[in-house]
């Protein structure tokens, strides 16, 4: 787990993306985002890709943990 964790579980579209972008804009180079829907997972991954970030994903129960890094 990274030092910075965004819990975006249960947040509806586009909150996970808003939070992801906010974190990137704050200059945080590595962080984890937890989501629990396929739509949020796809949207966050697309946002990271569009922002030139690397991402790594694993699932834990119903949750997806996305590791974002520069």
């Amino acid at each position: 787990m990274s030092d910075h964790i965004i819990d975006a579980r249960g947040l509806s579209c586009p909150q996970p993306v808003v939070l992801t972008r906010k974190t990137i804009n704050e200059g945080i180079a590595a962080f984890d985002i937890i989501v629990n829907s396929d739509v949020a997972r796809e949207n966050v991954l697309r946002t990271l890709k569009n922002s030139g970030m690397k991402s790594d994903i694993r699932s834990e129960g119903d949750d997806f943990i996305i590791k974002a890094s520069k």
Binding site: I6, R9, G10, P14, R46
Partner: protein, 371 residues
């Protein structure tokens, strides 16, 4: 499994299929420039149930339940069905109500706004401009931390209620149930409500919409929001595909008639076309999805989206019972009478916008990054 329809090419295919099927539905009997319209069709359903008595817009449109059922079935198959609820339910109900009132002042949801434009109805440009403005205001709120709170997992049965209700609507249509003499279920004998494709065609089309829109996450409001919010053109490529395909379809069928006046089921009151859709766009943005997307979400088990849809159906009943909806332009002996909303409809739009602004300013939950 990789979800092909959620890729760029997938969303373009989705938009093209929706546009093509919409034009086919128009040729098969649905009203002009209204192959599919979530707002209009929910309004017709409200009328068929007797929730309003505007006798030209009463028909239990099978497309709406079929969209929900299509999304329900495919989400179960793809293991994406997740019963959830609990995010500012009553606010979502009222957002749905006001979204519907705004859409009915304009006379169409975003899908129909695109279909109207594809048929040459230039009044739709004012509506689309309003939609963009409403969504842009919504994005300002989103950037300031607006949100309606989290949803929580719910019991399996909570996600079945809405699809079951939709299935009941299909059965009421198919069996033409009459609850009393001269009572509902109503079937319009004239006007847009009397124009419809064969039930089986409507059902098949709705199921197809439901399946592909669930897989692709197609959303008209989201397409504009994502551009303003994040310069993300993913969803917009699908929306553009819908517009282009329907336009080509109309050209082929000789149904493209460009102009402002005497367009089918439309009015040329520019200010209120604009403001009606400004309200709708803002309400969709605050609720997180266009009317089509809300149907899909309600099929996936999102009870809050189901409540939004019920709000829209209720809003349609109010819109016609209280004379809030826009009247289409009428033409008699070559003289065009300008339509649009009456004074109460105009007041309702203003009240709706104020309601959305209050919600936008007040509904904030600090969602900070833990470190």
């Amino acid at each position: 499994m990789k979800n092909i329809l959620s890729s760029r090419i997938g969303i373009i295919i989705t938009g093209s299929i929706i546009g093509a099927i919409a034009v086919i539905l128009q040729a098969a009997g649905n009203p002009p420039n209204m192959g599919i319209c979530v707002a209009c069709f929910e309004r017709d359903i409200a009328g068929a149930l007797g929730l309003h008595r505007a006798d030209v817009v009463q028909y239990l449109r099978p497309e709406i339940p079929a969209i929900v059922l299509g999304a329900f079935i495919i989400s179960i198959i793809m293991k994406e069905y997740k019963p959830r609820a609990g995010s500012s339910t009553l606010i979502r109900f009222f957002l749905g109500m006001f979204a519907m009132i705004g859409a009915l002042v304009f006379l169409g949801c975003p899908w129909r706004a695109l279909l109207r434009l594809a048929g040459g109805d230039l009044n739709s440009l004012l509506g689309l401009l309003g939609l963009i403005c409403g969504i842009a205001v919504g994005v300002l709120f989103l950037n300031k931390g607006y949100n309606l709170g989290r949803t929580y997992s719910n019991n399996k049965a909570s996600g079945w209620i809405f699809p079951a209700f939709m299935l009941a609507l299909v059965l009421l249509n198919v069996f033409e149930v009459s609850f009393s003499e001269s009572g509902p279920i109503f079937f319009s004998a004239k006007g847009p409500g009397s124009m419809h494709a064969n039930v089986l065609i409507s059902l098949a089309a709705g199921l197809a919409f439901g399946v592909i829109a669930q897989r692709s996450r197609f959303c008209t409001m989201g397409s504009i929001r994502d551009i303003i919010l994040a310069r993300d053109f993913h969803l917009m490529s699908g929306v553009a595909a819908l517009l282009v395909t329907a336009f080509i379809g109309n050209l082929i069928l000789g149904k493209f008639n460009p102009g402002f006046t005497a367009q089918p089921v439309a009015h040329s009151n520019h200010l209120w076309n604009f403001l009606g859709m400004t309200l709708a766009g803002l309400a969709f943005a605050l609720a997180g999805g266009c009317p089509g997307r809300q149907l899909i979400l309600s099929g996936e088990g999102d009870a809050d989206a189901g409540v939004f849809v019920m709000g829209m159906i209720t809003g349609a009943a109010f819109a016609h019972n209280l004379s809030l909806a826009g009247k289409p332009d009428s033409m008699a002996e070559e003289v065009v009478t300008l339509g649009g909303p009456g004074i109460y409809g105009q007041a309702a739009v203003i009240i709706g916008i104020l309601f959305c602004l209050v919600i936008g300013f007040t509904m904030r939950e600090k969602l900070t990054v833990k470190s």
